[in-house]
Symmetry: C2
Subunit: 172 residues, 2 copies
């Protein structure tokens, strides 16, 4: 991340990263499948925690209610890594390649949450819609959170965004 920050993602070569870490290019590619992947370490963990939140949600909850629980779980994780979130986000935002990778991570997350929702007896279409809506809300909230000068809690921003979505969907 230091190198990507200093010289930009495109201009940084894998050989350089490896050298700075005291390894070989070949070894780098044994740890990370990709030059991109190195920026997406924690993503499986986040996915697991959000899925777990859906699995643990009360049976009385609605689909979007369970998504709300998953977002609360994400909030915990995000606050833990707040200090790296900003720089990392700027690096990703500056590179189309990295944005692509971020989007497919989000899609994978959505698919996992959709599976979890189906397991909670929601219908197919409903589960997929709710899950994707959840990642959308997460990203919208993330963008507001990451550059917020007041350091408002992610949980609060996400809950507001989710409420706003409900409002949009019920109006008209």
């Amino acid at each position: 991340m230091a190198l990507y920050g200093e010289r930009g993602y495109e201009e940084t070569t894998v050989a350089e990263i490896a050298e700075r870490a005291g390894l070989t290019k070949r070894t780098f590619f044994r740890y990370f499948t990709d030059k991109r992947e190195v920026l997406f370490w924690g993503s499986e963990l986040l996915e697991q925690q959000m899925v777990a939140a859906i699995e643990a949600a009360p049976a009385s909850a609605s689909a979007l209610g369970m998504i709300g629980a998953a977002l609360d779980a994400a909030a915990v994780r995000f606050e833990e890594v707040r200090e790296f979130a900003g720089p990392r986000h700027r690096i990703i935002a500056a590179s189309p390649e990295l944005r692509e990778r971020e989007l497919i991570k989000a899609a994978s997350l959505a698919a996992a949450m959709a599976r979890a929702l189906r397991a909670r007896r929601f219908g197919d279409t409903a589960a997929v819609l709710a899950a994707h809506t959840g990642t959308t809300v997460m990203h919208v909230a993330f963008e507001q959170w990451v550059d917020d000068p007041n350091q408002t809690a992610f949980q609060q921003i996400a809950r507001d965004a989710l409420a706003q979505l409900r409002e949009i969907a019920s109006t008209g």
Copy 2:
């Protein structure tokens, strides 16, 4: 698309595509920035038409109402290319690289629709949420449409999906 279909995307080399088309690798890259991009020709057109639908929607419409209009516009386009949609979709679904590209196209579409919604005086967050929700509905509907043995109209599937989303969001 023929070559990608025959031998798979990864196994097809740009030199081969160029040869089959009677050109050079170099010339290929002057037309398409990417090996991937060749599968996403019509995407700007689709984007323009969906944005135009939002711009033309009656002022009384809600945000999701305008998204509905945009989906109707997409329906027209999709029906025009129905015969290629299936094979193309299968090729893309089989390759992570291509899925990434598809996702960023969807994100670009969502951003364009969000801009259009802001221009129609919707709030920032509302516009972004509605726009992303629209692309989500579009993809869900597309998956149902593309392999539907009854050849149900895209418009109908999309409208059903949108209605289902409204229901999810208002329940609980």
